[in-house]
């Protein structure tokens, strides 16, 4: 993390500690990374949603306890996430159902996926909607066409444009 990023992060956290309303800025900044972490370790999407929700609930409650000691805020959030996952595994009686948090995926891989999710969020709305219906909800082009009131060809076109857009941004970010 560059010192500029780290400074920005410190400001965001300090603002939220002083005024809880500002916690939503932290949520907007860190949601995708917490999600990228949770979806890889939870057994399914519904549980990844539960884990992500719990991480932010706990973070909101305990934000006052977070102290800046050169530890990035994301590391603090992911430690909460690891604890949430452990709590859940213990509750369901499953023994370590999945790789241990520290070893799952390389750091860069995780950051890249979080970044991709963020890029999807910033797509023009119709393109974003097509991506979500196609890849998250796994719907067919025909279904999406019916839902959006477009032709199948138009949906295909939107999908291609969105993917191309994502590839460009992704390459610009990672070279």
């Amino acid at each position: 993390m560059s010192s500029l990023e780290s400074q920005h992060e410190r400001k965001l956290v300090a603002a939220a500690q002083a005024d809880p309303e500002r916690f939503l800025d932290l949520y907007d900044s860190y949601f995708h990374r917490v999600w990228a972490y949770a979806i890889r370790r939870a057994p399914n999407r519904a549980e990844a949603e539960d884990v992500t929700s719990e991480v932010f609930r706990r973070a909101l409650e305990n934000l006052g306890a977070y102290e800046w000691r050169g530890v990035p805020f994301i590391a603090w959030l992911l430690r909460i996430a690891a604890n949430v996952l452990i709590d859940r595994w213990q509750k369901t009686g499953k023994e370590s159902a999945g790789p241990l948090p520290e070893t799952a995926g390389s750091h860069t891989d995780f950051e890249r996926r979080a970044m991709l999710f963020q890029l999807v969020d910033r797509l023009p709305e119709t393109q974003r909607r097509v991506i979500e219906l196609r890849y998250v909800e796994q719907r067919s082009l025909l279904e999406i066409a019916a839902m959006l009131g477009k032709t199948e060809g138009a949906v295909k076109q939107l999908q291609r444009r969105a993917l191309e857009h994502l590839r460009e941004q992704w390459e610009a970010a990672h070279g």
Binding site: R57, L60, R113, I131, Y135, V136, E137, L163
Partner: protein
């Protein structure tokens, strides 16, 4: 090259979060922040939420004894007013109740939704304490086992235990006031304009009667349903009683008492709405001075 990269992107997209979830969690956090802020705001007495049921009955001593015997209520304070009427505060579970009356004046018994771990046992205790059965505990289609008791001073208690796994409105406490009126939709509209109430849900029968509705005012939940009207009295703790009093009048309420500082440490104004409910709008100024 580009195709390969796109294939990798497509694979990763399957794990993309849904926008609906992202927005839902954001709203939940926003609500939590707002509720925490509201409880920390000055103006609300410690241990109270925005709305406290105010049970005004002819024999408040009898009422206090009943809630102690039936529901294990704990008396947290009492005082006798200048006109000789008793004001008593009790806690049931995590909820505060005000009980008053005993002097001349209007009686406003309330209906209250009470959640307990074992409805059957509490129902039996309520009957033994002098309550009259409205209905014996039974499993209800809306996710709880519920029985009803009318206490000796006229308040209705809907005693319930939620089925396991049934979620409650966020902010639901042990006791929730339950308003009965004929025009619930009109009342909801008034409460939105007067007290910034937020509608949580309205459930209608096929004929269009409002069977059940829930609202949030500040940190408290209020329930209502359409049946024989039962005007209620409720005590609000808010950061700025004067401004909310003005807002309530603008929304169509009539004034019963202009805001003034009271000897017990509240600044209080009282209004009555078109449904006959009276709303004590208070800001707690500090320690009780009496």
């Amino acid at each position: 090259m580009a195709d390969q990269e796109i294939a990798r992107i497509e694979a990763a997209l399957a794990e993309c979060p849904s926008r609906e979830f992202q927005d839902r969690l954001r709203s939940e956090l926003e609500r939590k922040i707002r509720m925490t802020a509201a409880t920390e705001t000055t103006g609300v007495r410690k241990g109270f939420t925005t709305v406290t049921p105010y049970l005004t009955v002819a024999d408040p001593e009898r009422l206090v004894q009943f809630v102690k015997d039936a529901f294990g209520a704990v008396e947290t304070g009492r005082s006798i007013g200048g006109s000789g009427h008793l004001h008593c505060e009790v806690q049931i579970g995590d909820s505060m109740l005000m009980c008053g009356g005993g002097a001349r004046g209007r009686e406003t018994p309330l209906a209250l939704h009470l959640y307990v771990p074992d409805v059957d046992a509490v129902y039996d205790r309520a009957i033994a304490a002098g309550g009259e059965s409205l209905r014996v505990p039974e499993d209800r289609p809306y996710g709880e086992r519920q029985g009803g008791v009318k206490d000796p001073t006229g308040n209705l208690w809907y005693i319930a235990t939620r089925f396991p796994g049934v979620a409650a409105w966020e902010g639901m406490r042990t006791v929730t006031p339950y308003l009965h009126h004929t025009d619930v939709l009109g009342l909801i509209d008034f409460l939105k304009r007067a007290f910034n109430a937020e509608e949580l849900g309205v459930f209608k029968s096929p004929e269009g009667r409002v069977m059940h509705a829930a609202l949030r005012i500040g940190t408290a939940i209020l329930e209502m349903g359409e049946t024989t009207p039962m005007p209620a009295s409720l005590y609000l703790y808010v950061p700025d009683a004067d401004s909310l009093y003005g807002q309530a009048l603008a929304a169509g309420a009539k004034s019963l008492l202009s805001p003034a500082n009271q000897p017990y440490g509240d600044r209080l104004g009282v209004v009555e709405d078109n449904w006959g409910n009276s709303w004590c709008i208070a800001t707690h100024l500090g320690q009780q001075t009496q």
